[in-house]
């Protein structure tokens, strides 16, 4: 029974709970057991609340079911606040921190009866594409333990792929939900900027950050997005637009839609295996009655430069709050205030975070501001206009999520530019604020998952989900669990 349960999707588990074929406690016991069996190898969780999760499950069993999420174990990225629970953003500078409030998304999912079992590993402050910049541990890809899970939401993607939990929350600033989802063979969705409240998300680059779900099926992701979305008075950038019933309206649909295939997303950096599988996906779309159109997003080649200038600028400003005053780490016996700030930050931040603070400080410094930050903001306009133009002639874009499948641990960690290029197919959508999903559509010659990315215009979540639902049905991927064994 136990291993069977870990194969099931969130909504399948929900049906069993609803029918009283299993209890929330039984489900939680399975979750705990699977965590114990697998996570000493995968290391997807920074911590796991064993006792409290079982207690909460027991309580949920005694209550009337609040929603389809009632009694479902969930994981959460270590940068989303839960009242009184440890949160570090995988950084030493937040060691021991327990936020005095919960994020809006946490309140929403807990009110629906979901149980957060623990926090997942990530790149320090979400800065990285492999989860290797975590100050605490290295998470491994459940499909191949010698490879990275992607990042920065690598722990969340790995925990879902290994069947420890059916779903997890991540955050996406330049691809941090979609890239690990692709590497781990799961579904990851970044909704439109502002669709989901960021209140309680520790910020990296505020104009790009968005919270979203990671799960093994498109239906689960549609269900969770519906729960997560909505305006919030505590996040003035959240969108005041009605939330559709994504799950109820979910139907496998590509017929009558025009899919743009941007040439720039199939350039020389994209592996031939990946290209071939995405080509098959394009054929599937055609067979399902979709129209396929080759399109161009000519400023794509500037997206990574633009992204890293803007994201580091925003980060250098956002991370000024880690000064050893209100929370987190403080250096011992400082000489004076400036010494306290400078040593606290030097001792508390890891190398990638320091590198990005330095870069962000540089591009914002007088004399360089216009040449870098100002210029990048104008490029952002051009990148956004590229998308506006193609959506005049097509409904969605189909691309690979990543140029390659999961790379080896250590392969790119010493080469920042190579690591940054991992986000080449995902960062543009953050710059334009668009919704984009990654779904597994096949495996390469090494049996590693390949992700396809669907990108839609702002607030086209339903269209994106419907097309993803169709591809999921056609790809015969069928919510596979990674072949990990204890």
């Amino acid at each position: 029974m136990n291993n069977q349960l870990s194969q099931l999707s969130l909504l399948e588990l929900s049906q069993l709970l609803e029918a009283q074929e299993i209890t929330a406690v039984e489900l939680m016991e399975t979750t705990v057991e699977r965590y114990r069996q697998l996570d000493s190898d995968i290391k997807s969780f920074l911590y796991f609340d064993l006792d409290e999760s079982l207690e909460t499950a027991k309580k949920q069993d005694s209550l009337e079911r609040k929603s389809a999420l009632h009694g479902i174990p969930l994981a959460i990225k270590d940068n989303i606040s839960r009242l009184g629970k440890p949160l570090t953003c995988s950084s030493k500078i937040l060691a021991g921190h327990r936020p005095p409030y919960s994020a809006t998304v946490v309140e929403k999912l807990e009110q629906a009866g979901g149980i957060f079992v623990g926090n997942t590993n990530m790149d320090e402050f979400a800065m990285g594409s492999s989860t290797e910049t975590s100050a605490y541990q290295t998470t491994r890809n459940p499909w191949d333990l010698e490879r990275v899970p992607g990042g920065s939401s690598g722990g969340s993607a790995a925990a879902v792929a290994a069947g420890i939990v059916p779903a997890a929350l991540g955050s996406d600033t330049g691809g941090s939900i979609r890239q690990p989802a692709a590497f781990c063979g799961v579904v990851g969705f970044k909704p439109t900027y502002g669709r989901v409240s960021r209140y309680g998300l520790f910020p990296f680059a505020s104009s790009l950050d968005q919270i979203g779900p990671i799960a093994r099926t498109v239906s689960d992701v549609a269900f969770l997005t519906e729960l997560l979305a909505g305006s919030d008075s505590r996040d003035s950038t959240s969108l005041d637009s009605p939330v559709p019933r994504y799950l109820e309206q979910l139907q496998p649909r590509a017929e009558g839609l025009t899919f743009g295939i941007p040439e720039e997303y199939f350039g020389e950096g994209v592996d031939s295996d990946v290209r071939q599988i995405i080509q098959q996906t394009i054929e599937t779309l055609k067979q399902q009655g979709a129209e396929i159109k080759t399109v161009n997003l000519p400023h794509t080649k500037y997206a990574i430069s633009t992204y890293y200038i803007l994201a580091t600028a925003e980060a250098s400003s956002n991370l000024a709050r880690y000064d050893g005053v209100q929370y987190g780490y403080r250096a011992d016996e400082p000489d004076d205030l400036i010494d306290m700030y400078s040593r606290t930050r030097a001792e508390g931040f890891g190398p990638e975070v320091k590198r990005r603070i330095m870069l962000g400080t540089f591009v914002l410094s007088s004399g360089y501001y216009e040449a870098y930050y100002g210029k990048a903001q104008k490029l952002r306009t051009l990148i956004k206009q590229d998308f506006d133009r193609v959506y005049e002639e097509c409904d969605l874009l189909l691309t690979p999520t990543t140029p390659s499948t999961a790379f080896k641990l250590g392969e790119k960690i010493d080469d920042p530019v190579q690591m940054y290029l991992s986000d080449i197919l995902t960062a543009s959508t953050n710059l334009a604020g668009l919704p984009a999903i990654s779904i597994p559509v096949g495996q390469d010659s090494k049996q590693l998952p390949v992700g396809a990315q669907l990108i839609g215009p702002a607030l086209s979540e339903q269209t994106v989900l419907n097309a993803a639902f169709m591809l999921e049905k056609q790809s015969q991927w069928d919510a596979k669990i990674a072949p990990v064994q204890a």
Binding site: Y302, V325, R345, M358, Y372
Partner: protein, 97 residues
């Protein structure tokens, strides 16, 4: 870009980061490499292009200024590295003369 090396320690001061000599050397090289890559954007003529600060149109959000309960002071101060009498505590800022 040759000036970058001399500027590294100034940047570290601005970013309030005490860097070791080794780190300064490493970051000078890294930043040089990243900026050389990033300078690709200079190929593009942006003469008449407006900057984008935010991907989607933003409007000011107004609400009534109403007192609402926040987290208790003790809970917040418990997170601080040091506090005295209900306040955050920091090293002396002004010398006593």
């Amino acid at each position: 870009m040759a000036a970058l090396k001399q500027e590294i320690s100034q940047l570290a001061t601005l970013g309030r980061l005490n860097l070791t000599d080794e780190e300064e050397k490493k970051f000078a090289g890294d930043l040089q490499e990243i900026l050389e890559f990033a300078e690709k954007i200079n190929e593009v003529d942006t003469e008449n292009i407006q900057p984008t600060y935010h991907a989607l149109p933003l409007e000011n959000v107004f609400r009534d200024d109403v007192c609402q309960p926040g987290p208790p002071i003790e809970t917040v101060l418990k997170q601080a590295p040091a506090s005295i009498d209900g306040y955050f505590s920091v090293p002396r800022v002004i010398d006593r003369e």
